[in-house]
């Protein structure tokens, strides 16, 4: 079994999850409460990774982070390195690819919080960020957890985008799904089977956790 690839995938999935919590919570908050007319455009953009073939997404990300793109030049100046075929590049791709998996459960969760609770809090003189922290976040905590866990699991299983952006460099960009593909190509079915079983078991455990979390919500907060 390719432990190096499994470890790399776990690291990538965890870092992606952290980044997505930082980016996803404000984005989901804005999507839930903004009254802008063009909000649907942002919603569509966030949902794109759900329908685009991973190769198409990967292709555009590759163009966007190439050393000659503005983003690539900026990254080069800041770190002296390059994004494509590196862990940083994989991270950018994973964050974009898993964005809908984080944002959509959170928007649903924030939307389920009675708006009057927010308004009551504002009228008591409590700022919007503090209201979010003290009222919305606790009431939508399972949705936030669901978004985080799903982004983690989804990143662990990605293949096409990783291959396009990261290539296949052992220890740097060879994730567990690519490692399985390599093992099959090399007709090493027993290794591929073992690694696949690990991934299957893990994915099942994660989904079971997500659904059990949501079940608990219904039992604890009836009619909320």
């Amino acid at each position: 079994m390719d432990w190096q690839a499994i470890w790399l995938s776990l690291r990538l999935a965890f870092t992606t999850m952290v980044f997505l919590l930082v980016v996803g919570i404000p984005l989901a908050y804005w999507l839930t409460y903004s009254k802008r007319r063009w909000k649907f455009v942002v919603e569509a953009v966030v949902a794109l990774p759900l329908v685009l073939p991973p190769t198409v997404l990967g292709f555009y990300i590759l163009l966007a982070i190439s050393p000659r793109s503005p983003l690539g030049i900026l990254y080069g100046k800041l770190t002296g390195g390059m994004l494509p075929f590196s862990f940083g590049g994989l991270l950018v791709a994973s964050v974009l690819y898993s964005l809908p998996f984080t944002v959509q459960p959170m928007t649903a969760g924030f939307g389920a919080v009675d708006r009057r609770l927010l308004e009551a809090s504002w009228c008591l003189g409590i700022s919007r960020p503090a209201t979010f922290r003290r009222v919305v976040a606790p009431l939508a905590r399972t949705s936030i957890a669901t978004g985080a866990i799903l982004s983690f699991a989804h990143t662990l299983g990605e293949f096409g985008v990783v291959l396009m952006v990261g290539g296949n460099i052992a220890g740097a960009t060879r994730t567990v799904s690519i490692s399985i593909y390599d093992q099959v190509q090399a007709l090493d079915y027993s290794a591929a089977g073992a690694t696949s079983a690990v991934l299957l078991g893990f994915s099942f455990a994660v989904l079971a956790l997500v659904y059990s979390l949501q079940r608990k919500v219904w039992a604890v907060w009836p009619g909320n």
């Binding site: 009675d114 009057r116 809090s121 504002w122 009228c123 008591l124 003189g125 606790p138």
Partner: protein, 359 residues
Amino acid sequence: MAGELICECRKRLASGFEVDAALRIPLAASPVTILFGPSGAGKTTLLRMLAGLDRPQSGQIAFRGKRWFDGAEGLELDPQQRRAAFLFQDYALFPHMTVRENVAYAAGRGRAEGLLVRFDLAELADRLPRAISGGQAQRVALVRALAAGPELLLLDEPLSALDEATRVRTRRELRRILLECRVPSVVVTHDRTEAIALGDWMAVMIDGRIRQVGPVEDVFRKPADAVVAGSVGVENVLLAEIVGREAGLVTLAVGERTLAAIDSGDAGPVHACIRAEDVGITRESGAAASTIRNRIPGVIRAVSVEGPLARIEMDCSFPLVALVTAQSAADLALAPGDAVAAVLKTTSVYVTAALQYAQ
């Protein structure tokens, strides 16, 4: 604590309904202002505009000389800056916090503890909102709002979520708290008994517009026009004293006369509210055999015929208005100066507490 609340604002809703409200409330003279009107008159929208939760399309709002909203200058204060606490119809208590945490939400623990004791909530302090009754939830929401030290309280139909029995008790308690806390309040209601029991000042809103503003008793006694009269419905609001209480009935002293009414449990000074159409007029003197207990001699001051109805204004040592059919007024040949007697059933006299504002 002087100053005024001035509001002149317009907002067209998506449905096409337009709120165009202009009112001035003298805060010193009116600790509790009632915003009264039928459902769908735009009362809640106006209250939300005062709170800063809805934005008017134009106009201005000023509170004690401080501008909260000015459409012409694009000035708009956030709800947080207005310090106008809003009580929602269903109270909007934070469901994940105990009563104590709700009260402490904007006040801090120390202050909250004092308020919990003062408002008799200490026993409920560790319960979640879904484990307390509607009347208790209302009190928690009010105390939570007071804990934030607001300059203005906005209450949207504060009693409508309660059952009938709780409502009467809570109404009295609400009036007491609103007077004690010394924070001016605006209370939205479509219930005339609530308006009389809770308010000092009253603005009548019909179809998106303010039709009349003034002291509660004046608005009921002298509606500005027929539309207001139709919506307020009670022409006679009389200050009375309870002088006797027996077998579920109370005897009220009004002016030089006494009235029998159903005991509402209120004590001290009360308001006796009588709808003009519940008042009958008779020329018979002496006690005729009748189930009607209230028989009040008086003199007719004015008779005005309004379509099929006649409005009779009497002086019974207190002013009393009766609405009878024009036909029966003609049959009895009722005219100003006639000595008659007003008759009304005990059940037509509604009694509500009349707590006065101690300056």
